[in-house]
């Protein structure tokens, strides 16, 4: 049965970017305020799920050729490697640090190593969520 969901598809095209932007915001806000890798990742995953819902799996898989299981691996390794970095520098595992850096045009920005760790969390959450959802929906 062919369903005509042109409204959903049109709305999705715009809304997905809004959701991604919000996910991006949440991710970076997480260092001091509400947010973080997990929530940002869930939000990004929900945008992707919306794409899969309004189009079909084949189309999106062509447009975003990511193996989500591999994404989990990437995420976990990024997070662990940030911990290993602190071992190599002679600090206890998972030690994090931050520095205020003066950028031209942007002004002073706080750069923290824990953001790298959160990046790993983000990838893992996106990968995990989509693996679960796609493995249920793929073979219907």
């Amino acid at each position: 049965m062919k369903v005509n969901d042109v409204i959903l598809q049109t709305v999705t095209k715009i809304v997905v970017f809004i959701i991604f932007t919000f996910a991006f915001y949440l991710f970076f806000a997480g260092h001091h305020d509400t947010g973080g890798g997990f929530i940002g990742g869930l939000m990004a995953a929900s945008a992707l799920v919306l794409l899969y819902l309004s189009y079909d799996i084949d189309t999106i898989s062509k447009a975003i050729p990511i193996n989500y299981r591999t994404l989990i691996g990437v995420g976990v390794s990024v997070s662990t490697l940030t911990g290993i970095g602190s071992i190599l520098l002679g600090y206890p595992f998972l030690s994090h640090t931050f520095e205020y850096v003066d950028f031209p045009f942007f002004g002073e920005i706080e750069l923290a190593t824990s953001v790298l760790f959160e990046f790993g969390v983000l990838f893992t959450v996106v990968g995990g969520t989509l693996t679960i959802i796609l493995s249920i929906s793929e073979d219907v």
Partner: protein
């Protein structure tokens, strides 16, 4: 507030237990996540409820909420999320493979 929360936790865990006892697999999964919510609320409540103060953000703050239970709850939510997701996939596979979601029919029989 603590009294209200206790009642709510009791209701959640009761409802969850009831759902877990039922025969349909999907209800069982819902039941486990409802129990999970009850347990997390309990963690929040026993750690002490406070009004009007955010978690500690700068050292000079005079009043702040204990950040530890919130961190614990976030971790537990992530774990619940993963287990529930896995359980759903497992239940779906089992339903496809075994053709039933009735726990009575999923009893093991020795002679297979």
């Amino acid at each position: 507030m603590e009294i209200l929360m206790s009642i709510l936790i009791g209701v959640l865990i009761t409802a969850g237990t009831y759902l877990v006892m039922s025969r349909s697999l999907l209800r069982i999964i819902l039941g486990t996540s409802v129990i999970g919510h009850g347990a997390l609320l309990l963690l929040l409540t026993t750690a002490g409820l406070k009004e009007g103060a955010p978690p500690i953000t700068n050292i000079e703050a005079l009043t702040y909420a204990d950040p530890l239970p919130q961190a614990l709850i976030l971790t537990a939510i992530v774990i619940n999320f993963a287990t529930t997701g896995f359980f759903l996939v497992l239940a779906y596979r089992a339903y496809k493979e075994l053709g039933t979601d009735d726990m009575d029919k999923l009893r093991g029989i020795d002679d297979e």
